[in-house]
Amino acid sequence: MKRYILQRLGIAAITIFVVITLTFFLMHMIPGSPIARENANMTEEVRAALTSNYGLNKPLGEQYIIYITNILHGNFGTSIAYSNRSVTDIIKTAFPVSADLGLRALLIGVSLGVALGIVSALRHNKGWDRFASVIAVIGISVPSFIIGTLLQAAFGLWLSSWVKDIFHTSFQLFPISRWESFRYTILPSFALGIGSIAIIARLMRSSMLDVIGQDYIKTARSKGISNTAILWKHEVRNALIPVVTVVGRMVGVICTGSFVVESLFAIPGLGKYYVNSVTARDYTLTMGLTIFYAIFVVISSLAVDILYCVIDPRVRYTGVSK
């Protein structure tokens, strides 16, 4: 087990190093200086001062070493577009928002997905199962930006105008942009969570069907245990094992929010900053966010894997793809 954890730690370290190197050199492959693009009519002195301020006048190798050293000190540099904010500062304010959105979406995905999966397994090949499968396939097929746009239209526009026609009062059930109180979080969380509902429902269904056919369920039934007890104590509990594995892997990705949903709903999370930094050519911010994102995903999946290794002894032998 010690060997497995060490091996995983080694791979994680190499991965993070590869991401940093790749990001750094890819971003420096873009022709022209990022400062020249930002403002065309600045004087020569100002440009020189800015260039040396961002360390862009040094040779590439030296810049790379400085960049890695700074990252090891938790310093991702200063943003170019938001000129007085450091990238670390932006991450500190944006990450909690993204994590909040992501965890809400995950909560929706897990609770509804598991419920849908159980129902369709219990009504295998009957109406409810068909209905749930259709919902699941639609959830996988329709991307979040289409669902988000439709949700915005339904709640921001159609529902409001319908209520206005009948009751002659202005009314908005859920706000369609920004991130302030609980009401603001509903639509974006659903837009982000619907995809995970679909994935989890399908997984839960097949896992439940698998468990229902097992011998220990027959044993439990022949011992005279009630159906409810069998369902909750044996079937659901055992069927949840693969679901928990998948959800564990999803946590890292979903906690960093979503590029599309955050842009669509104007939520000041990591995804929105990332998309803005790409369009505004804010290279330091793009680089910093890419690396932060990669480090977070790698470390969280590492943590989840090590946790499994501690909980489930079977993983120790098959963990790293052999």
């Binding site: 590869v18 873009i30 097929s141 930006f145 746009t149 990705v253 599309v260 999946s301 793809s321």
Partner: protein, 309 residues
């Protein structure tokens, strides 16, 4: 024996049938090859068949459509943002371009990206997975470590980063999709090869002096074709979706070229003022994704021997 004789002699309702060894040995069940069996199961799945027909139709439109329809870039500013009419069946966009023509062109571009990207991934995956599984030892160790690293980097990040550096076009999108896309198939193929190479027929071929390459080509790869086919069917919509996602963020195919992604982007931009600009591409896009996923599901069921009766 004694009982039997007494029944047949005592009862006039029954008569003795003369022995006919030839016909009793006959196998009445029509023998089916694997492929025929799969097709038969697939044909019983109406959803999968409808999906297959829909995909065939969309592919046909993508091939034939642009030849029949006029230039998809033609602007007509006097008739910008018009709803459906006789002249423009699906309306016009912000610069007066015909939505139907652009949708058909977009279908060609998006489908090409999906199919080409996944075919490249398929070839890379089969080669690398095959080598890894068959060679074993150090080569396998090395390839698997590389895959572990590639997989743990979030795919969307790599694609966005590459498209920030390169200008978004069909070629750069294909590169972005294929840099990391082959890993899933490589793992799948490797797993299949590992389980198959222990089979006796592979050993028999080896004993008979077949080269490693020949065993891989004629025995191992044809035997793991099933799961690979399912994986391919499920990955094509993934690639099409990734194109839409990236173009939506303004990183993929840029106007005046048409793709489902940038049509959808314009649709959401003009939403809800010009509903046709959103709903036409959204419906076509969602139906195509649905069709691929349903067909993939159907294929998986049909290829699974336990599901076949």
């Amino acid at each position: 024996m004694a009982v039997q004789t007494s029944i047949s002699e005592g009862n006039k309702d029954f008569s003795r049938i003369p022995k006919d060894i030839g016909s009793s040995q006959k196998i009445n069940r029509v023998s089916l090859t694997y492929a025929q069996g799969v097709m038969r199961t697939l044909k019983q799945n109406s959803l999968a068949m409808i999906s297959l027909a829909f995909i065939a139709f969309i592919v046909l439109v993508a091939i034939v459509g642009p030849m029949i329809l006029p230039d998809y870039q033609k602007q007509d500013l006097l008739h910008a943002l018009e709803a459906q009419s006789g002249a423009h069946w699906f309306g016009t966009d912000t610069l007066g371009r015909d939505v139907l023509t652009r949708l058909v062109r977009g279908t060609r571009i998006s489908l090409s990206i999906g199919f080409i990207a996944e075919t490249i991934n398929l070839v890379i995956g089969i080669i690398i997975g095959g080598i890894s599984g068959y060679m074993g030892g150090k080569a396998d160790m090395f390839i698997m470590r590389v895959i572990d690293i590639v997989v743990s980097i979030p795919q969307m990040i790599i694609m966005i980063l590459l498209l920030t550096v390169m200008k978004g076009s069909v070629g750069t999108l294909l590169i972005a999709l294929c840099v990391t896309g082959w890993t899933g198939l490589a793992r799948l193929v490797r797993g299949q090869v590992l389980s198959l190479r222990e089979n006796e027929y592979a050993m028999a071929a080896q004993v008979l002096g077949a080269s490693k390459w020949r065993i891989l080509k004629t025995h191992l790869i044809p035997n793991c074709i099933g799961p690979i086919l399912v994986n391919y069917t499920m990955s094509v919509p993934g690639a099409i979706g990734a194109e839409a996602y990236l173009s939506y963020l303004g990183l993929g195919i840029s106007i005046p070229e048409a793709s489902w992604g940038n049509l959808l982007q314009m649709g959401t931009d003009q939403f809800p003022g010009a509903l046709w600009l959103f709903f036409t591409p959204a419906i076509v896009f969602a139906l195509t994704m649905l069709a691929f996923n349903l067909l993939g599901d159907g294929l998986r069921d049909a290829l699974d021997p336990q599901m076949r009766r």
